[in-house]
Amino acid sequence: MATTMNPIENQELSRHFVVVHPLDDVPEEKVDIESLGPMPMTASVRISLLTLRAYLVLMMLLVFYRVVMLAGWFGHHS
């Protein structure tokens, strides 16, 4: 206990820092995602997600088309 140490020893200890690697440290308490449940589907979140879905499908088709053209699998280049 610090109170049982002599003042010089105590002062010496207070000038020291202990650095702990994250993997050696006690696990920290984080946000409990399970208790939060799903994100509230507000109109803006819903629209963002639907737009994303359409965007991804369209883009993947276009890139596939481009690659096929560049590879000349149909006998001509774009």
């Binding site: 000038r15 020291h16 820092f17 202990v18 650095v19 702990v20 690697h21 994250p22 993997l23 050696d24 440290d25 006690v26 696990p27 920290e28 984080k30 946000v31 995602i33 399970e34 939060l36 799903p38 994100m39 979140v45 963002s48 997600l49 994303l52 879905r53 965007y55 991804l56 369209l58 883009m59 993947m60 276009l62 890139v63 088309y65 481009r66 690659v67 560049l70 590879a71 774009s78």
Partner: protein, 443 residues
């Protein structure tokens, strides 16, 4: 040694134990900060340097070999872009202690979780094929039989991951990342035109042909290779696996920033190597051939160094991408998924890693694939998919219920929306170019 009181989980409620915590005692604040940084250091550097994978070597050197130093400014512009995106992942990972796939699954529901997972696994697998294709190519140019070399590299990749120690994996991979600095020696060796490099970096300009379909394709490939979707998943899972703490946020940011600086300057070196090949009149076909071309006038060091660095880039890319797949799959399935666990405790996690590495390695040994085309196309595919991945990230980072004080500030949102708009514009230009190629004059 330092002792901390550890509360056991509910199953062992009311049991209070004193868990020994291994730490190092230091005397000065400066040493404390340096040591803390070195302990936190890793995920940011690895994600950034692994991003300069085989596809990136190919894309950057092609950009240099095709357009000289004129597109250097594009690469430099990507430094803040890549940092800001990954910095959001740092906050998300530290605040939640969970991976990105788990986060999407839990906050957006099963459908979106699976959707993101399938997207990720698909692009990752295609990218892994390109990594092994590059290893195959480099080994062939070095005179090694790829039928022997590729399985050996795959076995090495398995060995570095299955030790059951995150730290051992991280140290090995950080060492490989530092080898990437040899690109500086190559750039110096080929005698770069300094004035031209400075001008190309600071003055935005275009090649003489103007905006052509191929130039746009190359720019989107550069963006796609510098900022890739797997990076979001990888760094967040890596941070969760390393159990970074709230107090580590500033060091994790510094780690990410240093990684971004290294990856971008190495990319510039790759373009300088490509530019040297252009200056000597060589026509670019792939980076391995470029190594032989440069070697013909710059010597054996440059030739062998580029070929070895190609393999190193592919190895780094493979371990990071395969891990991002394995972590993501493990998170969504609820399997144990940690490099800290031995194989017997996380068999599913290591099996996904094994399958990713093994299947991609096996596929490239089948002859006849147009390697350069596959490499460039994967980068473009990743570039096109990135805006969607960032929007997911943006929604999560604005989730105050989830992140509290770590949620995006207004200035974060302003920067991120600017990045998203730029990425969308690039993707839409690609779409327009594919749908109506005549909009763009031929170069």
């Amino acid at each position: 040694m330092n002792n901390k009181v550890l509360m056991m989980p509910a199953a062992e409620a009311a049991t209070e134990v004193v868990a020994p915590v291994r730490g190092r005692v230091v005397k000065s604040k400066w040493t404390r900060d340096l040591l803390t940084f070195l302990m936190v250091f890793g995920p940011g550097l690895i994600v950034m340097v692994a991003d300069n994978d085989a596809g990136a070597v190919s894309t950057y050197s092609q950009a240099g070999a095709q357009d000289g130093t004129r597109l250097l400014w594009v690469v430099l512009l990507l430094l803040p872009v890549t940092y800001f995106i990954q910095e959001m992942v740092v906050r998300l990972g530290i605040a939640t202690g969970k991976g990105h796939a788990a986060m999407i699954y839990q906050r957006f529901g099963k459908w979106w979780g699976l959707f993101s997972l399938v997207d990720l696994e698909l692009v990752n697998f295609l990218t892994l094929v390109t990594e092994f294709a590059a290893i195959n190519l480099a080994l062939t140019k070095m005179g090694f039989d790829p039928r022997l070399g590729v399985p050996l590299v795959a076995a090495g990749l398995l060995l570095i991951a299955v030790s059951g120690s995150y730290r051992r994996w991280e140290r090995t991979v950080v060492f490989l990342c530092l080898l990437d600095l040899a690109w500086f020696a190559i750039a110096f060796w080929v005698r770069p035109p300094i004035a031209q490099v400075v001008r190309g970096s600071l003055v935005p300009g275009l090649p003489p042909g103007g905006i052509t379909p191929n130039l746009m394709f190359l720019i989107i490939a550069i963006v796609g290779t510098t900022v890739a979707p797997w990076q979001l998943f990888f760094q967040q899972s890596c941070i969760a696996d390393k159990r970074l703490r709230f107090a580590d946020v500033k060091w994790a940011r510094l780690d990410t920033f240093l990684g971004a600086c290294i990856t971008i300057t190495v990319a510039v070196c790759m373009m300088i190597a490509g530019n040297a090949s252009l200056a000597h009149g060589f026509k670019f076909s792939d980076p391995a051939q470029m190594a032989l071309d440069l070697g013909s006038f710059a010597g054996g060091f440059v030739r062998n160094a580029i070929l070895l660095l190609m393999i190193n880039a592919a190895v780094l890319g493979t371990t990071a991408i395969s891990l991002s797949s394995a972590w993501a799959y493990g998170e969504v399935r609820g399997w144990p998924h940690s490099l800290q666990m031995p194989v017997r405790k996380a068999p599913g996690f290591y099996l996904v890693y094994l399958l990713c590495v093994g299947a991609a390695a096996g596929l490239v040994l089948i002859p006849g694939a147009p390697l350069q085309l596959i490499i460039l196309s994967v980068q473009v595919l990743a570039g096109v998919m990135l805006p969607s991945a960032i929007i997911f990230l943006q929604l999560l980072l604005n989730d105050k219920e989830l992140l509290g004080e770590y949620a995006n500030k207004p200035w974060n949102n302003a920067v991120n929306w600017t990045i998203i708009v730029v990425l969308f514009v690039l993707s839409l230009i690609l779409a327009a170019q594919v749908a109506a190629p005549n909009l763009f004059p031929a170069g």
